[in-house]
Subunit: 220 residues, 2 copies
């Protein structure tokens, strides 16, 4: 069994590995809010325990064992988020920090019963897929809103930014999961995007558009 801290490292390495193959020391340090020297120490320990493959100065990759451990934590995190939103009426911008703690509770029975209690949800309040108890989940194919062309349509099915500020902003704009949108125009000046949502036309910044994930359902 891994410690609280080891679990956090594994989870962060897992998420970083979704973007780059070899995860760098500095990147981990930034995510863990710690210093690179500390990361090197921990990486050695995780390598000794067989959770990561590590070559000095070359960064780390998760082993199968490490990947399984990480996916398990991700599963717990996302299930707890569903619980908080569906059962305790938290908003989608309020759940991250609490789930960050709950994900470390060690009880297989707990998480399986929670899963059942929640009706075996397939995705969390931010649209991220929830692995099943064997760690399997569909690799959903999303398009970033920013990559759509004028007159493209689609449904908001996820976000790639979980900060409270960002999520609150989306909420205020009415850009929540499941909403249908259509691209009306892209501004030359600042790259902001004019979209049609719920019959209204709104303008969102490039930065916002980058972090909204769309599942296309027409004209693409």
């Amino acid at each position: 069994m891994q410690s609280f801290t080891e679990e956090n490292y594994l989870k962060i390495i897992y998420h970083l590995a979704e973007k780059t193959n070899n995860v760098q020391t500095n990147a981990i340090a930034e995510q863990m809010q710690t210093k690179p020297a500390s990361v090197t120490d921990m990486i050695k320990k995780l390598a000794e325990k067989g959770f990561v493959d590590y070559i000095k100065y070359q960064g780390v990759t998760l082993t199968d064992k490490g990947k399984n451990a990480a996916v398990d934590i991700v599963r717990k995190h996302r299930l707890w988020e569903v619980f908080l939103v569906d059962k305790l009426n938290f908003k989608w911008d309020e759940v991250h920090d609490v789930a960050e703690e709950l994900e470390h509770i060690k009880s297989t029975a707990l998480i399986e019963r929670l899963d059942e209690f929640l009706g075996f949800p397939k995705s969390d309040p931010h649209g991220d897929p929830i692995p099943d108890k064997n760690g399997r989940f569909a690799k959903t194919q999303f398009t970033k809103l920013i990559d759509l062309k004028i007159s493209d349509q689609g449904t908001i099915t996820g976000v790639s930014q979980h900060s409270s500020a960002f999520l609150k902003h989306l909420e205020k704009l009415g850009l929540t999961l499941g909403k249908q949108i259509e691209i009306n125009d892209v501004t030359d000046f600042d790259g902001s995007v004019e979209i049609l949502v719920a019959g209204k036309q709104i303008n969102i910044s490039r930065e916002v558009a980058k972090h909204i994930l769309i599942s296309s359902n027409g004209k693409n």
Copy 2:
């Protein structure tokens, strides 16, 4: 804010203080499954932080601050137990260890919403009272089954032992919370007790009878 370990010390001191005024180092060590020397270290730290009053060789008592912190943990523990039994269908003998972990999740919003979700329960699956958000709760007056006289009647409203083995045993005997019982006889030989429950007459050992709590409702 206190650490995980500090919280466990406070909780244990709180429970020990329900029996004796000055809580002894050895007693804490036993409950914490650690050595007396370690307890002395931690006590000093808790005293410095103002959670306990401490005089060398005289044991500790909780300050108001310490008591509040402890009651808060007890509240969380018991609410989570209700959640596990009522919502996730855990048995009353399966919840202790998981609640032991969940009680350390730090979020006031979480625990208040959980309380509401559960319908503001007044007691946990073992009959122990749940403090409200201001730390107040009724000091319920229980009689131990062992202290009842022949022909006394009452209702099982709690247990003073939370081990899985004990609770499973009670379950098998049909001695669960809310059951009406009547004392038929007390065996001279071994002090075991003959009781009438749900129309059937059963014999329970002195040791079991010690840990069943009864709220009397007649002939006392």
